[in-house]
Symmetry: C2
Subunit: 152 residues, 2 copies
C-alpha cells in the first residue's frame, strides 16, 4: 500500500507478509554484547556446551528484527507503528544463517470509546525462518488514528 | 548473590533491583536506525510535531536495555536467563536523559511435571526512570534448572 493506513482501513482477517532479514553470527554477537551478554549469545564455541547446544540470537534481538521488518514493510500505519503492549513468545531461537520473515494478521479492530480520532488494532505477528520454524509469536495492540471525516 | 540460582532458591515474593542505565539521544537514534526507523525515534526536530511530541526510545530498545540490566544484575539463574515468553506493556516511553532501573519480583515458581531437572519461574519486571515513571512492565516466564539432588 502507498497511502497511510487508518483504523477504518483495517479489517479482522487481513494479512500481509514482510520482506526477509538474513541473520548472521556477527549480528547476533553484536546485539548480545550490547543488550544480552550471555555466553550462548556471544561465543559459538562455549555455546556448544550450554543449554541451546549452539549460538542463538537473544529473543530481544528477534523482536527488534521483527520490528524492523514491520516498519519497513510498506504497510504504514498513519502516525507510525506504536505498540501499547502485548504478548510475546519464543517457541524456538533464531540462529546464524536464519532468514527471518514476519507474517501479520489483524485479529481485532477497536475504535476508542472516549477518543473519536483513534482506536486500537491487535496484530498477531509470527516470525519464521527459512525452514518455516516459528521463532517468535507476538500479539500486540497498536494505536491507530482514524481519518478525519470528509466534508460531505 | 554469588552462586547461581536454582529453582529451589526461588520463592514467590522475592524482589531485587538492578543497577541503572543512563539513556541518551545517540543511543536512541542508533537503536532506531538499526531496528525501528520511525521519525519519532530518529529525529528530535521532527519528533516535536509527531505523536509523542519529543524524541522517544523504541519500546524494543527499552526491552533490550531492561534485559541488559537483568543479565548484569549479579542475580544469575543457573544456566542463564532464558525467557520463554510473557506479556509486555509500555505505559510511557523512555526518553533522552532517563536513568532506567528495573525491579524484579518473583510471582510464580513451578516445577516441571515431566522434567524433574527443571521448572519455570514467572517474574514481574518493572522498568522505571529517575522520576519513578514506569516505562515498561514485563511479566515473563523463564526456564530455571533444579540443582542436582545431593547424595544423602
Amino acid at each position: 500500500m502507498d497511502r497511510p493506513i487508518y483504523l477504518d482501513d483495517l479489517q479482522v482477517g487481513q494479512r500481509f507478509t514482510t520482506a526477509t532479514h538474513g541473520l548472521d553470527e556477527p549480528q547476533i554477537i553484536a546485539f548480545a554484547r550490547e543488550f544480552d551478554p550471555q555466553p550462548f549469545h556471544l561465543d559459538a564455541a562455549r555455546a556448544r556446551d550450554l543449554v541451546f547446544g549452539e549460538l542463538v540470537a537473544s529473543g530481544w534481538h528477534t523482536a527488534a528484527i521483527t520490528m524492523r521488518l514491520l516498519v519497513t514493510s510498506g504497510h504504514d500505519i498513519a502516525g507510525g507503528l506504536i505498540g501499547l503492549g502485548g504478548e510475546i513468545a519464543w517457541p524456538a531461537p533464531a540462529r546464524p544463517g536464519d532468514v527471518l520473515q514476519a507474517t501479520v494478521e489483524v485479529i481485532a479492530v477497536t475504535p476508542s470509546r472516549s477518543r473519536p480520532d483513534r482506536g486500537t488494532a491487535t496484530l498477531r505477528i509470527e516470525t519464521r525462518n527459512q525452514r518455516e520454524e516459528t521463532v517468535q509469536i507476538l500479539t500486540v495492540k497498536i494505536l491507530v488514528p482514524r481519518a478525519a471525516p470528509r466534508t460531505p
